[in-house]
């Protein structure tokens, strides 16, 4: 174990994957000597050189499209889209090519592609640089989606994503990049599709992921003092969802709060609520509440942005409605 930031951890995950397999390469905008928009690739360019850490033109469509071609020809690309907000310009390559080729071709293609991209609000980057769009990708059969909340998971999910033979969207929250934590050295894999209980509790389950895990934990601390025991489930993987973990926790607590940063309507919270309202219906002692950003674009001004991002108080208020 070493202390490192979430960003160092995900970089270390890339590095380990590259050391292990020469067919792994990184491509994206300013990922080379510049070291990545937020510094994510750091000095990987110096270590692995321009053959394996590749600066592309501003050409997301070709970045993803070429990754599809390279992967079907035997490589294992890690490609970066600088902000998840830019996915709109390469959705076809994800929706209709990467995610569907294996099925359409009758199983005769393998698409081991990792698409790394930062999400999230909190730095006044405004409406086109702050979104959380995981719901789109969770609705694409053939895609996996991971969203680590801790440095250790940032590394472990990165390595699992590279090792996976399917397209995996790896979403790193920009607010977490600087967060420190203990991270295993060398190779480290966190299984895709497995949630983790970030905090045990017995009265209510807060189901969440990515940067919201910290807010859920903070809310749970406060609630604890008021005699409410909240369990916090960090999903880690958004697709496929760890249904068992969700249902198990709700069975225990009888109450579910879903917390995500994405806007409410059409967010992944709906999917989770639907699973619980069907398969966990008999466990429920109270309505399922969702805490999410309101249905509006992300405003620039810090005062408005703060009002937009879900926070501890809103989680606590939701919990209090059900306990």
């Amino acid at each position: 174990m070493t202390q490192m930031t979430y960003m160092e951890a995900l970089r270390d995950g890339m590095r380990q994957a590259m050391l292990k397999d020469p067919n792994v390469y990184i491509a994206g905008e300013d990922v080379g000597a510049f070291g990545g928009c937020f510094g994510q690739t750091g000095s990987l360019f110096e270590e692995f050189g321009p053959k394996r850490v590749i600066d592309t033109p501003i050409t997301e469509t070709a970045i993803i499209g070429s990754a599809v071609g390279a992967a079907s020809a035997g490589l294992r690309p890690i490609v970066e889209i600088m902000f998840i907000d830019f996915m709109g310009v390469c959705m076809d390559e994800i929706l209709n090519q990467a995610a569907k080729m294996r099925y359409m071709f009758g199983g005769k293609a393998k698409l081991p592609i990792v698409i790394r991209t930062p999400c999230g609000a909190g730095i006044s980057a405004a409406a086109q640089h702050s979104q959380s769009l995981e719901a789109w990708f969770a609705h694409i059969p053939g895609m996996k989606v991971v969203m680590p909340a801790t440095p250790a998971d940032a590394k472990g999910l990165l390595m699992s994503a590279v090792a996976d033979d399917n397209p995996v969207l790896y979403i790193e929250h920009k607010i977490l990049l600087g967060v420190k934590g203990e991270v295993p050295e060398g190779e480290h894999y966190v299984p895709i599709g497995k949630a983790t209980v970030a905090r045990e509790g017995s009265d209510v389950t807060i189901i969440t992921w990515s940067a919201m895990v910290q807010k859920a934990l903070a809310a749970a601390e406060t609630l604890d003092k008021e005699g409410v025991s909240a369990e916090v489930l960090d999903l880690r993987t958004i697709s496929p969802l760890d249904k068992e973990a969700i249902l198990k926790s709700v069975e225990k607590t009888g109450r579910a709060i879903i917390l995500h940063e994405a806007t409410l309507t059409g967010g992944v919270g709906g999917e989770i609520a639907a699973i619980i309202a069907d398969e966990g219906f008999d466990y429920l002692n109270a309505p399922i509440k969702r805490v999410a950003a309101p249905d509006c674009p992300i405003p620039f001004s810090p005062v408005l942005e703060q009002a937009w991002v879900p926070n501890e108080e809103k989680v606590i208020a939701a919990v209090k409605q059900v306990v």
Partner: protein, 319 residues
């Protein structure tokens, strides 16, 4: 690079194979045996044939919605193709893909594609992989005149040029994107001129002359294999039929259609073969008969094949 008579006979054989496959597909579609959309390559056979004649099994192609010709020219197996058109379990994609998604990754065929222009960046990636691995292989990207207006064209050619990827963009200019005549969808006459935007060679050739296609693509493939990067080869051609089966193509000028039918690449090559004494009419008839037989076998295979089992619905979504 001398083209031998035997090569020409191979070209002829491939072109006839494509033609007869397509004619059979038209027939089976009309008979209600082929579900979904079917886009046929009749009239454009010289392009796929001339281009793919420069490739080996480890080279890659990306194809389009009008893909049968490309696949056959790259070595695709008629039985598996026909069975796929039928939607049978024995088809290339086990019935999951259909005409627009046939692929044979082992043969370097990275798929027909239902999204116009989607193959362009994919071909760049395949070529990138060849270069990355140092294999000396190349990729050929087939795409239409209509597709040359998509953003993918621009991004793919730019990326290929910047990274010197061994890829040849073969633009099949059949002068229509569905009903939209080329002069109404772009203001250049020769799409090959667009190569200049990427500092790469661009050639415009008679796409109904298989030898011209072969030679132009040969030069481009050669450059690519030697590390000289990508090229764009425009092949001017004509689709004889509607955009898809069922389209009466009333938007075509009958005079122009007649002119192009007269330029049919297959009789043209047949004439040449006979003139140069590479083959007699009887030789060609024998080839035709052999192909008829292949097609009949493919249809028979498809007809006799079972439907996919519903239990197969959810397999192969992920690896």
């Amino acid at each position: 690079m001398e083209i031998t008579p035997n090569q020409l006979i191979d070209f002829y054989t491939t072109m006839v194979r494509i033609r007869k496959f397509e004619q059979k597909a038209a027939e089976q579609f009309a008979a209600g045996k082929l579900p979904g959309f079917v886009h046929l390559y009749v009239g454009e056979e010289a392009v796929a044939t001339g281009a793919c004649a420069n490739l080996n099994e480890n080279d890659f192609i990306t194809s389009t919605h009008r893909g049968h010709g490309h696949l056959i020219a790259k070595g695709g197996k008629l039985e598996l193709m026909m069975a796929e058109l039928y939607g049978k379990a024995t088809g290339y994609c086990r019935g999951k893909g259909g005409s627009m998604h046939i692929a044979d990754v082992d043969l370097g065929i990275l798929g027909a594609n239902g999204i116009v222009g989607a193959g362009q960046p994919i071909s760049v990636g395949a070529a990138f992989a060849c270069k990355y691995k140092g294999t000396n292989n190349v990729a050929v990207c087939f795409h239409g005149d209509g597709a040359s207006n998509r953003g993918t064209f621009h991004e793919a050619l730019n990326m290929a040029a910047v990274f010197k990827c061994p890829v040849v963009f073969v633009c099949e200019n059949n002068m229509y994107g569905i009903s939209n005549y080329q002069k109404n969808h772009q203001t250049v006459n020769d799409i090959a001129d667009r190569a200049a935007s990427y500092g790469i060679p661009g050639a415009s050739v008679d796409g109904n002359d298989v030898i011209a296609v072969y030679e132009a693509v040969n030069a481009a493939v050669d450059q690519a294999r030697k590390g000289g990067g990508p090229s764009l080869v425009e092949c001017k051609t004509w689709r004889h039929r509607g955009h898809f089966e069922g389209d009466p193509a009333t938007y075509k000028d009958p005079k122009e259609q007649a002119e192009w039918l007269a330029k049919d690449p297959i009789p043209r090559l047949a004439k040449k073969l006979i003139e140069m004494k590479a083959a007699t009419q009887a030789d060609l008839d024998a080839i035709d008969a052999k192909i008829d037989d292949e097609i009949a076998k493919a249809v028979d295979f498809a007809e006799k094949s079972p439907w996919p089992d519903v239990s197969d619905l959810l397999t192969d979504v992920v690896a």
